[in-house]
């Protein structure tokens, strides 16, 4: 099984969710994160004190999928999350050794 971690713009979460489900992915987990990268941050000023905020609000979507679905999932996300401007984010793919469904105790690809 592969774990797809996609760091995307918060406004793209819904599109990515729909794109992923369209590829047959039935579950995923999203996390609010702050991202640092090429995209430049903004400045806040409070009574003359300037704060440069370099971390941008992003959302990380994690979906564990069967090996043979991984490519489709990546492609779906690439399509759904892209705007073409700096800050669109990254996708990282890694390997999951084992998966379990807590409700039933089952393990394996069927649990996804």
């Amino acid at each position: 099984m592969k774990k797809i971690e996609a760091i995307i713009r918060p406004s793209k979460l819904n599109d990515v969710k729909e794109a992923l489900t369209a590829t047959g992915c039935q579950g995923m987990t999203s996390i609010e994160v702050k991202g640092f990268g090429r995209q430049k941050g903004h400045t806040e000023v409070y009574r003359g004190a300037e704060y440069v905020v370099e971390f941008q609000p992003k959302v990380k979507v994690e979906a564990v999928v069967p090996d043979d679905h991984a490519q489709a999932a990546v492609e779906a996300i690439l399509k759904a999350a892209a705007t073409g401007s700096i800050g669109d984010g990254k996708i990282f793919v890694s390997t999951i050794d084992e998966a379990f469904r807590i409700r039933t105790g089952e393990s394996g690809e069927d649990t996804l």
Binding site: E44, V45, Y46, R47, G48, A49, Y51
Partner: protein, 444 residues
């Protein structure tokens, strides 16, 4: 405690009743001594000033600190309210307003501090009268001023001063700074500043200048927050700060309007200028930010507005709309400079800008009332000699700065010796809410 303590005298203050003026029979007296209209207004004004402290000031300040210290500001506001109330009941009111032994022009002890006649509210009954309102109401109204003044300066040492130190310092400071200064200004005939002819309608000196001076001393003596200037310390909840700003603003109608001690044209006109000044000062601050930073901020407007309110306070009984506009303008510019450039240059960590806003505002208003109180400039003070009055106001300012500054140094030293001024480094790190009070503000 002996029960004779409670053998109350009746009506402490002689008044010339309207009934007498009208030549109506004596029967009318009891009825007309107290004006129910004035009483209604000052009752509400007292509630408004208390509302400025809790929740107004608590919200204004607590929104500006980091999440981990939000409750400590609330707790300090609440406990100061409680402590000053009890001080006021026991000896605060009498030391401020007992006029026993005062002689016009005298410079004896009682020019500087009141007597002990009204200790623990001795002699005050529901029938006691002060002017056209019940004495108990005058007591409450003045109490709210004594409450909010130390409340103001806690902003200077926010996020790092030990709770027990705040409590102890408040007790000492109110007793040895607030009560005398209040008496000197508002003690009536025979009071030091009063006899000098100082104009301070609602507390430019008594409230804002004392708070600002002590804030400066305390910010320096308590020392900067860990990481100040290096770690970002942005406000954690500006929405709360803005809500508090609005509550302060509305409450200020009671603060200044109530200082007329009657529901009349003087109160109404005080409210007019109390509305104009923060509007001008807030806009001024916003315009400065627009020019210097490119964006006018809500916090900037709010800060300017509070500066404008502080500045109009001593002047609100004397100036007309023109004066209010100028005071708003000058306080907007001056307090912006004081809270940003000056603070940075001098390097003290006045966490919530009490010096710049209240000290600065109090200063501006206390001086400019000498100018714009004059009839020729739209004010209501007949026979005002501008130059002379400027001298008088300046003298009072200088005296207050020195008295309050020196006392603050001494009292803070004492408190440091007794309980220690600062929390431990760990408490500062984890936050005063957990460290001093064992609780957290939010758990969404």
């Amino acid at each position: 405690m002996s029960f004779t303590l409670f053998s109350y005298r009746s009506s402490r203050v002689g008044v010339v009743t309207a009934g007498t003026l009208l030549g109506l029979p004596a029967l009318a007296n009891a009825q007309e001594t107290v004006s129910s209209g004035d009483t209604a207004w000052i009752t509400v004004a007292s509630a408004l000033v208390l509302f400025m402290m809790i929740p107004g000031l608590a919200m204004f300040y607590a929104g500006l600190v980091r999440t981990k210290n939000v409750l400590s500001l609330f707790m300090q506001c609440f406990v100061i309210t409680a402590i000053v109330t009890l001080i006021w009941v026991i000896y605060g009111y009498t030391l401020s307003f007992d006029a026993e032994g005062m002689v016009a022009g005298g410079h004896g002890l009682h020019a500087f501090i009141g007597g002990f006649e009204n200790i623990f509210m001795r002699g005050m009954t529901p029938d006691s009268v002060h002017g056209t309102i019940p004495e108990a109401l005058f007591f409450v109204f003045q109490m709210t001023f004594a409450i909010i003044t130390p409340g103001l300066f806690i902003g200077a040492f926010a996020e790092r001063m030990r709770f027990s130190a705040v409590v102890l310092f408040t007790v000492l400071w109110v007793s040895l700074v607030y009560l005398p200064v209040c008496h000197m200004v508002w003690g009536g005939e025979g009071s030091f500043f009063g006899d000098m002819g100082v104009i301070d309608f609602a507390g430019g000196i008594v409230v804002h200048l004392t708070a600002g001076t002590t804030a400066l001393v305390a910010a320096i003596m308590v020392g900067p927050r860990k990481g100040y200037g290096k770690v970002p310390m942005p406000p954690h909840n500006l929405v709360m700060t803005l809500t508090g700003t609005a509550m302060l603003w509305v409450g200020w109608f009671g603060f200044n309007g109530g200082s007329a001690l009657a529901a009349n044209g003087k109160a109404a006109m005080a409210i007019v200028v109390t509305q104009i000044s923060p509007c001008v000062a807030g806009l001024t601050w916003a315009v400065i930010e627009r020019i210097r930073i490119g964006k006018p901020s809500a916090l900037g407007f709010a800060t300017g507005a509070i500066a404008g309110l502080a500045a109009i306070t001593p002047a609100s009984g004397s100036v007309g709309p023109l004066g209010a506009v100028v005071i708003g303008l000058v306080s907007g510019v001056f307090c912006y400079w004081a809270a940003t450039s000056l603070k940075m240059k001098l390097g003290y960590d006045d966490a919530l800008d009490v010096v710049g806003v209240h000290g600065g505002g109090g200063l501006v208003g206390t001086l400019l009332v000498a100018v714009f109180g004059a009839g020729v400039l739209g004010g209501w003070e007949k026979n005002l000699d501008i130059l002379h009055q400027l001298g008088v106001q300046g003298l009072a300012i200088a005296f207050t700065l020195v008295y309050c500054g020196v006392l603050s140094v001494v009292l803070l030293k004492a408190v440091d010796g007794l309980v220690g001024l600062r929390v431990t480094a760990e408490t500062e790190e984890e936050g005063l809410d957990l460290g001093d009070h064992g609780e957290v503000g939010y758990d969404f």
